[in-house]
Amino acid sequence: MSLLKKKPAAAADDAWLASSCALCYGTCSILAHRVDGTVIKIEGNPDSVVGKGKLCGKGVSGIMTHYDPHRLTKPLKRTNPVKGIGVDPGWKEISWDEALDTVARELKRIRDEDPRKLTVMRTTTVTASRVPFQAFSAGFGTPNFSVAGGGLHCGNGAHLISGIMHASWSVVPDFEYCNYAVYFGASKGHSAGHASCSNMGLAADARARGMRMVVVDPMCNFAAAKATEWVPLRVGTDAALALAMCNVMVNELGIFDAPYLKAKTNGPYLIGPDQLYLRDPATKEPLVWDEKKGVALPYTAVPAEDMALEGNYQVDGVPCRPSFVILKEHLRKFTPEQAEKITTVPAADIRRLGGEFGREARVGSTIVIDGVTVPYRPVAAIAFRGAQGHMNSVYNFLAVDLLNQMVGAADVAGSCLGFNPASHGFPETGRLRYVPKAGPDGLMVTGMWMGYHYPYPIAEPRLPTNLGLQDLFVMGMTSPFLTSSDQEELWQTFSVPYRPEALLNFGCNIMMSVGTSQTVAESLKKYKFIASIDLYLTEFSDFCDIVLPDCDYLQSTDSRSNFPFIFNLPGGMGEWCWSIRQPADQPQGEQRRHSEVLLDLAERIGMTPDFNAALNASINLAPPYRLAPDRRYSWDEVCDAELKCNFGAERGLDWFKQHGVIKWPKKPEEVYWRAFEDVRVPIYWEFLKVAGDKIAAIAEPRGVSIPREYYEPLPDFLPCPSHQCEHKGFDYFAFYYRDIIHTNSFTMENPWLDEAARLDPYSYTVAIHKDTALSRGLAHGDVVDIETEGGRKVTGRLCLTEAIHPEGLGIAALAGHWGDGMPIAKGKGVFFNELLEVDWDHSSPVNQNLDLCVKVKVTKLGAKP
């Protein structure tokens, strides 16, 4: 490729603009190079901590999504009233005024009748949409907010427990100091996810430094591919393995961190025969046994080292034991031999892994970092989407975190860290300060969260008025009941006083991201009016009445790309970093930014004061930057207000457009906050039992039985529906995983990524174990039918591999588009979610996470295509 003969004359327009990516919710910092009005390159921003000047494959390919000719450019109106899968909506191009008036009229009618009849949905991929859409639904007055598949499939377990135990959205090893990391169904640093690009660098440095990585996963790709040891297990049995390892560590080897358990957990709290705390009659504070004084006192009145962790006691005639003792007894049940039967992981390996984790923890050691001595536990057990994507979502994840809690490897040097759970704020203004604090019963309340109801303290279950029933099932976040097949039956059972009528969507394609398309289609037909703001016409658009063309991330502005820090700012030592998004290109056709559309809609509905108040509250604007109730702001003005409020009057939007990012150093007391904050975390979930009783009190009289084994205070292994399927011929556990080259169902339309995925052996194929496939007469490249007991069926091309558990069937990403709106993506890959039932029986009774593994039958369709 020869050199350009003549260097182009100094191009009039040749600018590098510091902004943020939006190909996945990692939102890494980018530099967009624009020459003569055309964006010709996207690179990482070396000044920024998020990505450190690098991008993954998706980040650099954003150009081809930006310039995709199939992007929507004009508002569209449906002319064909009949709605159905593949039914042509008969789109007619209309003006923005007509479109917004139609939407505003519909929403205003509903707001006057009952604002709760509006459901608002946003895609998790665009982090910039969180504040505007949450504020819009708060201002409108509806509690029915959902992130659809993005939340339902990969969040309810991980975020709930990361929030309660680590005060953060998810957990990651402290790559700088960790020596032994165990991954349960997670990829941190090897595929997609939070702060993925930064983690890639950190993880690689750690591996190069010699950190040993044990990856527990049914398939050996991404993290498992780079692991020092891959531990294949039967899908969905992570809890059994983790609990067995805990058992080996605590009971067989006697390794646990007593001082940590006494000071930082509810281990010493005394538990009565009714599995609840013994409480001080006056202050209602849980009692602990003071070994020095030989008497039971409230936990607040006993120095931690005097608290009893073992033994049986009597308090006013009531027999009781510290919760840690009950946990130890409970763990005895999980012998490695028993776990081997459930997980197929050999007992010897389980015993070895438990021992290694315990010994490597170096209980009791400390280390000096930046002149500050902090406890040093160079081990980390982390989990994410894979482990918690099951009925047993809560216990799978909690069991993994117990490994950390037993040896005190939680938010200390080298251990399992939350993503920046504590921040002492921006030095000059003191803003952005948040620290976990002690809540009821001394248990930790997270300092920062993504939604505005914190995971702990648990809300009081009540007869639900939310469509997602989250106010009854109080541990749930994103709910399946917005699109479940049995939603009407459940609403009637709990006499929910209204039905949804309007749906406002941003970017979600729930026809593909939730479950079987038939069920979702039925639920969508019930809506009277659906409006969607999106980049493309998706399979979901077939059910919309109005579709509005959105600007993409290279045409938009946003003031908080990587805040809250618990979401996608890299964890561990280093620097705090605040970056923004600024436009590098003009909108094409009549595309408008979703935030401006919402501001416009709010004005037309007449809820501008409410919207502004919600924005003030969501962004926590302080005077003098608070938005006045009656003024109609532009989104740039809101961004400017937030930036000035946080960083001082001279650092508004224009300053950030110039400088890109602002950074300030992290302190050890922030990163390793566990040693500096007086908070305890529950290794014994007493409140779960309390919540279970209350929920049952409401649900059971109405005929909905609550399986109480899910509401026990201690984690257990509870089989998924797929584990109980004995149907002959159904001998594979199908699961799906995140692909490094794709985000949800969105990036298949990017031709570069699609091309790379077509070259990848696994991306669009169905991974199946070589020997088991050959023994069934299945060959590499065969096109097969994959069928569930319920008759749901998808087809796909086989990839015979050694890198998967013999019973496993691995499908990548969220592919298998059938709509015409995304022609490059159409027909690529396998639509896994078609196999998933969406109903009460297939979602966790605790946090409503959908069960993502399903037993399937594989039958050959024809020879190689």
Binding site: M1, I40, G53, A225, P232, W752, T801
Partner: protein, 197 residues
Amino acid sequence: MVIDLKRCIGCYGCQLSCKAEHGTPPGVFFARLLKHEEGKYPSVRQMFLPVLCNHCTDAPCVDVCPTEASHYCEGGIVDIDHDKCVGCRACMMACPYNNRYFNAERNWYFGDAGPTPYELARSARHDTGVVMKCNFCTPRLAEGKLPACVANCPTTARTFGDLDDPNSTVSRLIKDRGGFTLHPEAGTSPNVYYLAP
């Protein structure tokens, strides 16, 4: 160039940052990632192998080229002068690493939807009817930058430097970690070394 297979996690960053830098047409990859497995279950390992032109010291592609279009530039970089190349594609057959691509006719990533502004801007310098290959991002080197694939690698698996200088980082890495090359038996003395995973 040295590529550390222990660090590489197969994120396709090299393949795509290279494509973004040069606007190569569909099916043309100056840098590429190969994935394959080794071993039997359960002790199986996935190998990620990023490949690109090795800029061999005695390159067969330069020898077979009838018009001296394929030539050595200063620093040992092998490049093609598109004004000389007649498109006979002998070089494609001669390269044991098949890192050369023939640009038969102009085509775009969105097919008949036509070229995107990006493709128009970037592909102005690509001739049709000639062979294309990686030139270690010579324009970037001229600006003192690292090649696009090296600069963007999230796990810093790729290091670029002067192999002739014994104490450059690349030379030391090769010495310390036992760098190896692909198909050494082809006798082309390639200049891209790999470090064992």
